[in-house]
Amino acid sequence: MLDRVLTQPRAKCRKVTLPDRLAALLVWTVATLVAGMLLWIVLDLLRHGLPHLSIGFLLDAPRDAGRAGGIAPVLVATAMILIVSLAVAVPLGLATALLLSEYIRRGSRFAGFVRHALEVLAGVPSIVFGLFGNALFVRYFGMGYSVAAGGLTLACMVLPLFVRASEEALRSVPDDFRRAADALGLTRAAAIRSVLLPAALPGILVALVLSTGRALAEAAALLFTSGYVLRVPESLGDSGRTLAVHIYELAMNVPGGESQAYATGVVLLGALLLINLLTALLGRRYGAQVQGVRR
């Protein structure tokens, strides 16, 4: 008897009413619409972009203001700006995350202030970051429209994301390790160097990959800072055009550049997908490792 009660399917225990069915239908419809919209965007991009995509497109210099040729200088500039922004954001972000997770109490006023500041920073529209970068780096520090100015502006932008994700990674390292290190009379610095950072490394890598994705997708903040010169930047002081800015320029300011814009869009989309895939892989490995630790 008890068996029968326990194995009875749930649906039979409860009468399904018409409003239930309507609600289910509504939720399913909306979800399908959202997923469909995303699929539409991707398919549209692929349909217009793929025919123009080739190895040559990646390796050639652009001709005729980008209407023909490839995007080689754009790829180089994108890589340079990305490297500058990460080289600045990673040490600063890691130090902040360490401060928040290891050195000050979670409930302290300073921690609250820093966290609040990061949240506000994360909510600032990127065009505002662009204006700020333009005022500070381009004009005040006299960097001009350059890879350096663009990279630094991007660093400010990805900092909140990187700090938050790295802090989470550090916090997810079991407290047992900290207590063990304390009980052995080790300094917090030694514990961080030899135990906590290595244990949190996979999570920090995820933070790094997420930040790269964010930086890669940015156009507005770079228009006023790194500029849109379509040449290979010879130094950090030269202006350079990233993938996202290239798409904007081709679509808005170069008549007849749409197809090239689409092809560049496919390249950017591919890079972002690759980064997401990397995050998923690292995340899975990280999850497995934390389980291993808590075994």
């Binding site: 047992d176 207590r179 063990a180 304390d182 052995l184 009379g185 080790l186 030899s194 135990v195 630790v293």
Partner: protein, 278 residues
Amino acid sequence: MTTTEKAFRPWHVPASRPACCDVKRPALQAVGLGVRFSGRPVLADVSLDMHHGCITAIVGPSGCGKSTFLASLNRMLDFEEGAALTGDVRFHGESILGADLDAQSLRRRIGLIAQRPNPFPLSIRRNLAFPLREHGVRDRPEQERCIEESLRQVGLWSEVCDRLDQPALALSGGQQQRLCLARALALEPEVLLLDEPCSALDPLASGVVEDLIVDLRGRYTIVVVTHNLAQARRIADDMAVFWIEDGVGRIVETGSADELFTRPRDAVTRAYIAGARG
């Protein structure tokens, strides 16, 4: 006796007191010690001498402040939010509560082993080498010698000597706990504080760790918190019974383990030992 036999040894076998356990000489002393967390008293008026080379067992029901007491003996309470101490803790007659005391080197001399094994997520070798290096043992051969010696002391050498570079977290629970003990021993402490070292282990592993504690008697001053009276009776020289009165942990009786088990003076101790309370 094999390990299995030892693990299931009847609990009434009395522990014999070796000559090296010198009752006259207290290594660690708690003097009228009280602990408050954010103003709320947790421990009050705890006075206890822990003798050089002896095993002192702290017993009592859950929540009576045994672990807090242990943590106050090597300044681990420094890390607890809002913890305040009154009274004194003396190590070889000198207070360890002073603000100018080097708490890190104190913790090297007074090691604490946690209830749950907590090896670092490093290799077996690095688990021992890293604290050694941080405490100034930088010479590689010297490190290797220390590592082997401590692993031998806890009986782990023969089990792991061919896989020192494998992750410590792949070891079994009992092996991990012995590794943690070896990690503390490598730093050549004088006192070992053990916070229910066997409670997270299965009976077999628990027996191995217990035998190990007995082996270390005489060489180290050992303070062990346990809620296992049978274990306390098997291993302890001295004993202190903690109890909660009005929500505050206090000592109700101290003395040699034999005495407390055979002729308890306090009614609470008598009931606790008889299994009627706690």
